[in-house]
């Protein structure tokens, strides 16, 4: 079962990730359609969370991308970020 619901506040992204032997999924880089590839430098937090802004829910990765902090959501099987 998947929930693909588009809205202007939600950007679905393509993600490259590591699937670790202990069952975790760690995103390494992401790319929005036609956007640049963003390499994730560090993941500072992982938790279940709702995104009221983008409209969705899933595992939320707080990622450092360069100087910026980005919230990346995994609402299985989709990945999305919140639009600015």
């Amino acid at each position: 079962m998947s929930v693909y619901r588009e809205n202007p506040h939600k950007i679905y992204v393509k993600v490259r990730a590591d699937f670790t032997p202990d069952g975790r999924i760690l995103p390494l880089m992401l790319r929005a359609e036609d956007g640049p590839v963003m390499r994730i430098d560090r993941i500072t937090d992982v938790r279940e969370a709702a995104s009221l802004k983008a409209g969705g829910q899933g595992t939320r990765y707080t990622c450092r991308v360069g100087e910026a902090t980005l919230l990346l959501f995994y609402d299985e099987p989709y990945w999305f970020i919140e639009a600015d």
Binding site: N7, A49, L52, Q57
Partner: protein, 415 residues
């Protein structure tokens, strides 16, 4: 050791999940409603904004729009609601293995443990409430009490996103003045009958002589009396919303009203096929067949019969349903919807009494045939084999009740 039981109730569940996924409608009056085209156009649930306009669950969309013209109606997405329900349950199970789902949006959690008190239970309830809000983006109301009935009552007292603690010393001030209808399983009919003996509040029910209640309501009277006094001892059963199957049923609101016996025959056999297939799929047979019909004024009536032998045959179920229908509803046309339900279930590997007439052997052959049809339908789709009777009406024959599942709360006395 006193019990500590939480009842968590997701507020305006379907509408809350829809509003989470559709930020653009979050601040508008929203209702989740069935399809008007398929005549399922009733309000399934609505958000608090829509409630303020007087929009009620169960009313037709056109009635709701008269009260609130700007009402946004969205179609239901059951798989999404099932998924969110599982996520809520996963959170509950981090606090206790004893979690009993009551439909998709409600659950009891038994926190009882040495050292656990109602006050501490209320703090856990608050933690659960906050977690569901931040992790799932929806809200729950939680009732905390030493029994399931008052825990449920508590979750209804303060909404949304709240915790209500009901300790025995709170009953007199907070529970007893409430109308008796606030109690689980006191529906409009019981409420009316209680009013006839002057019982209109939970307090009055609690004080009423149990012997009198037994006289008027049978053993249910004693249960109601215990409920009202907060003496419900029923355990929290560790079951999810797909709890042990007690019955298998299907109902449908066809594209046009049923106006004659031919219509009824067509629909009842469609439903019988669906129910029989699901019985076989679940490895079950049923002895009790019941049908219900809803008039165009939305008045529902039902009838049931117990068969001498358990069955999972569409033909037997359909014919029995038709006989029941003929005896009770034939003069009640037009009808808006019809339902068929099979209960008193037994496993299909239970011993069967054979007979000398060979009837039972024929039934076994018939079952083989129906299982072969199940197989064909699984491989090539439901419409690949159809009964002649369902082809009488093209509008009806397009209905596929097998895929038209309804999710009902499990009965309180499950187990």
């Amino acid at each position: 050791m006193g019990r500590v039981i939480l009842h968590c109730d997701a507020n305006s569940y379907y509408a809350s999940v829809e509003c989470l996924y559709r930020p653009e409608i979050r601040d508008l009056p929203v209702a989740v409603a069935g399809s008007v085209e398929e005549r399922h156009g009733i309000i399934l649930t609505r958000n608090p904004l829509a409630r303020k306009y007087g929009v009620k669950t169960g009313e037709a969309i056109w009635q709701a729009k008269q009260k609130c013209p700007q009402l946004v109606c969205v179609p239901p997405d059951y798989p999404l609601y099932v998924r969110f329900s599982a996520k809520m349950r996963a959170i509950y199970e981090q606090y206790s293995p004893r979690v009993e789902s009551f439909g998709l949006d409600e659950a009891w959690i038994d926190l009882s443990a040495p050292g656990m008190t109602l006050e501490r239970g209320a703090r856990v309830a608050d933690e659960i409430r906050l977690r569901i809000r931040s992790e799932l983006g929806i809200t729950v109301s939680v009732g905390v009490a030493d029994n399931k009935i008052f825990a449920k009552l508590g979750s209804d007292l303060k909404k949304p996103d709240a915790v209500t603690l009901l300790r025995p010393q709170d009953y007199a001030a907070r529970v007893f003045p409430l109308p008796v209808g606030a109690l689980l399983y006191v529906g409009p009919s019981t409420q009316r009958r209680l009013a006839q003996i002057g019982v209109t509040t939970i307090g009055a029910l609690a004080q009423c002589d149990p012997a009198l209640l037994r006289l008027r309501f049978g053993k249910n009277g004693l249960t109601l009396s215990a409920f009202a006094r907060g003496e419900d001892r029923s355990p929290v059963m560790p079951v999810d919303h797909r709890a042990a199957i007690k019955s298998v049923g299907n109902s449908t609101t066809p594209p046009h009203d049923l106006t004659c016996m031919d219509d009824a025959r067509c629909i009842l056999f469609l439903l019988a096929e669906s129910v029989a297939a699901r019985l076989r799929e679940g490895g079950l047979r049923a002895r009790c067949i019941s049908i219900s019909a809803r008039s165009t004024e939305l008045v529902t009536c039902s009838r049931q019969i117990t068969l001498p032998r358990a069955t999972c045959l569409a033909g037997e179920i359909g014919r029995t349903a038709l006989e029941l229908f003929d005896g009770r509803f034939a003069s009640a046309f037009p009808l808006r919807s019809v339902g068929l339900n099979c209960s008193m279930l037994t496993p299909d590997d239970a011993p069967v009494q054979l007979d000398f007439t060979g009837d039972e052997e024929k039934r076994m052959q018939r079952e083989q045939l129906e299982r072969s049809i199940d197989d064909l339908r699984r491989r090539y789709g439901h419409q690949i084999v159809r009964r002649g009777v369902v082809l009488l009406d093209q509008g009806y024959s397009a209905i596929n009740p097998v895929e038209d599942h309804t999710i009902h709360p499990v009965p309180f006395y499950a187990g």
